[in-house]
């Protein structure tokens, strides 16, 4: 290592703290999370043993928490890779401390969300049928395909930019040595290696965006492809994608705030980062409202009886408290808090993020249950009260997410060290150069040549 990088690595000592220092709090948290997960697993074994009857689902509400949480978790997974890829692609320089965390959220939550349909199966032992007898005409198979693709792409996209950081850890002699030795893939920071890595990241970043969009579009298709009132809607694809990014940003900011607080990373995760992200969140909130408004206005104006039964069930019926709470959480809270500089602070942003997560979870619930509760034929309206098993598995899902995030933070830097260094060393010049090229009185070199000819 030459002198300048030595200095920098001293500067970035804060970033190693989560790896090199383990407090009691860590063990307590992990213990608690494992307890919650064990409780959820117990519930699941109970369910496998006795059948799905241990849940609150019934006729006609045959889908409940599992599908709701499936859509919710997959939605959060959009935080990551999509945001990170878009920020990288648009060369937003403020992305540097954020991208890694966003990508981890994607990888972990996607794994959790992807497992949810399995919780929902009546015969999980026959899952292999999806491979041997899968029908590609079924939207569920589209899901299986695109979630698998997204998981593969996003884990690679998480891993590749981590290689230089793993090499830094390896060179520092962090234990377990074999892990970093193995994962660093003999990274020596040579220009050739850097060139290859950059190229790989660029290819992946462009590939990942359409896959990410497809994932949530396809999830919405599960509902939209049926002819059920409240589901059969053309805007469901973009509506779900927008909602996914919306809840994803909220989850990302909660993770950032918690991490910054625990490891005192105020120097890296600055207020400006949160303000940029919360502006994005505000935009998404307005987009979300726009979609919701269009969706329900068309239903209301069309006034089709079957559709209206579901509509009324949401607006003034049994689900009205949830519906209006959702509108409050997803629209009122973000718009009010984030519009004023005075409230656009870290605590304010934290409140908004939690509010959005609750609101978006409610939105998934409001999409899944009311349509099922109001069958077209003259049956009584269904009721759905989730049981302790379902709540337990929901809690376990959240706990697995936190645990995964913690374990990751224990072994790998949550903020990309080399990208921070790169930003410090070369990007300022680059950005200055780029800015200059936007100006009317400067020429790109090739443009200059052309002008001279």
């Amino acid at each position: 290592m030459d002198k300048s990088t030595m200095e920098n690595s001293n500067e970035d000592l804060d970033l190693f703290r989560s790896i090199e220092y383990t407090g009691n709090g860590f063990y307590w948290t992990v213990g608690f999370l494992i307890f919650v997960i064990a409780f959820g697993l117990y519930g699941y074994f109970h369910q496998v043993l006795y059948g799905l009857g241990v849940t609150g689902m019934a006729q006609p509400i045959s889908w409940g928490f599992y599908i709701v949480n499936f859509v919710f978790f997959i939605g959060i997974s959009h935080a990551g890779t999509l945001i990170s890829a878009i920020l990288r692609l648009s060369q937003a320089e403020w992305r540097r401390p954020i991208t890694r965390m966003a990508e981890i959220i994607t990888a972990i939550v996607l794994a959790i969300g992807g497992l949810h349909p399995i919780l929902d199966l009546g015969q999980p032992g026959r899952m292999w049928n999806l491979v041997t007898n899968g029908r590609l005409q079924s939207p569920l198979l589209w899901d299986v395909t695109s979630i698998t693709a997204y998981f593969a792409a996003s884990t690679v996209y998480l891993y590749l930019p981590m290689i230089p950081d793993i090499a830094i850890l390896r060179d520092r002699g962090v234990k377990p040595k074999w892990l970093y030795q193995f994962l660093s893939w003999n990274w020596q920071d040579t220009p050739e290696q850097k060139r290859v890595l950059e190229r790989a990241i660029n290819i992946l970043m462009i590939m990942v965006i359409p896959i990410a969009v497809s994932v949530h579009t396809v999830i919405s298709y599960i509902f939209a492809m049926t002819i059920q009132p409240g589901w059969h809607s053309t805007i469901f694809g973009p509506y779900f994608v927008a909602g996914a990014i919306f809840s994803g940003i909220a989850a990302l900011m909660i993770a950032m705030i918690a991490f910054r607080k625990i490891f005192h990373l105020e120097r890296y995760l600055k207020l400006i980062h949160f303000q940029y992200l919360s502006t994005l969140l505000l935009i998404m909130s307005i987009i979300w409202f726009y979609f919701t408004f269009s969706e329900y206005l068309t239903t209301f104006y069309g006034n089709e009886p079957d559709e209206m039964r579901v509509f009324n069930y949401k607006f003034i019926g049994d689900f009205a408290p949830y519906f209006w709470l959702m509108v409050f959480c997803n629209f009122a809270v973000p718009v009010i808090i984030l519009s004023f500089k005075k409230t656009k602070t870290i605590p304010g942003i934290l409140v908004v993020s939690f509010s959005v997560l609750i609101g978006m979870w409610l939105e998934r619930l409001i999409i899944v249950v009311p349509s099922l509760a109001n069958p077209r034929l003259e049956y009584p309206v269904g009721i759905y009260i989730p049981t302790i098993t379902e709540w337990g598995l929901f809690a376990a899902g959240v706990a697995i997410f936190i645990l995964g995030f913690l374990m990751f933070a224990k072994y790998f830097p949550l903020i990309s060290i080399w990208e921070i260094r790169e930003g410090r060393e070369s990007s300022i010049k680059e950005v200055a150069h780029r800015l200059q090229s936007y100006m009317p009185d400067t020429y790109e070199e090739d443009e200059l040549e052309r002008a001279l000819k």
Partner: protein, 232 residues
């Protein structure tokens, strides 16, 4: 083996004749080993019917008009449920019957969510009969395991047997050879069943009657169960 594809099985239910007695519901439950759930489960809306009766009320008391709609699976020609099945556990066969292949079903319940008529039931728990009843189960129909979706199959096991008998006797399938349990048991003959492709069959004639209509026809699912509307 059998000359499939020549038939298109369908049902016509005359609402004028139906008294809502529930014989078809009972016959269906017994014929098809449809699980009996306890009172507690029933309270949770988990009762299972392959044939159910939907009751509609019109007008204010005392001038109410009550109509009973016996409701089997409608065996749509364009079924929304089979389209979404991820494992081909339900599909429409060449003779128009929408069948359930129970050992193939993974229990995702997508078909239940997609069916606009909500005719499908799910085995939330493993079916459980009182010990004495085990020997009265119909051996011709499988007892479904926990975690699979089921629904009316137009008593397809009766078709399998009827076809075999006809072939053993070296003749064509005749009208009346194959009747589902509901149709056979109806005391007022409200439920007729037969081949809609056969120009001489009773169902074919009834289905062309001016009184004939189908449930939620506007959805384009092309159900093969017709109702004959009530007339005074």
């Amino acid at each position: 083996m059998q000359e499939s594809g020549n038939h298109r099985w369908g049902m016509v239910i005359d609402l004028n004749k139906c008294t809502g007695c529930g014989e078809c519901v009972a016959a269906c439950k017994v014929e098809n080993n449809v699980a009996i759930v306890g009172a507690e489960e029933s309270e949770m809306d988990r009762t299972m019917f392959w044939m159910d009766i939907i009751t509609t009320h019109e007008g204010e008391y005392p001038d109410t008009e009550v109509t009973y709609f016996p409701r089997p699976c409608f065996h749509c020609d364009n079924p929304p449920c089979t389209k979404v099945c991820p494992v081909r556990a339900t599909y429409r066969n060449d003779e128009g019957i929408v069948t359930q292949i129970f050992p193939q079903c993974i229990g995702c319940r997508y078909c239940m969510a997609a069916c606009p008529y909500t005719v499908k039931s799910f085995n939330w728990f493993a079916p459980d009969w009182p010990e004495e009843m085990n020997s009265s189960l119909n051996p011709d129909v499988s007892v479904r395991p926990v975690g699979v979706v089921e629904k009316c199959t137009f008593c397809i096991h009766r078709l399998q047997k009827a076809k075999e008998l006809a072939r053993a006797e070296d003749r064509e399938l005749r009208e009346g050879d194959y009747l589902p349990a509901c149709s056979e048991s109806c005391p007022t003959d409200a439920i007729s069943f037969g081949d809609l492709n056969d120009p001489h069959s009773e169902v074919n004639k009834l289905a062309k009657s001016l009184r004939a209509f189908r449930m939620l026809e506007e959805l384009g699912t092309e159900p093969k169960v017709y109702y004959l509307s009530k007339v005074e």
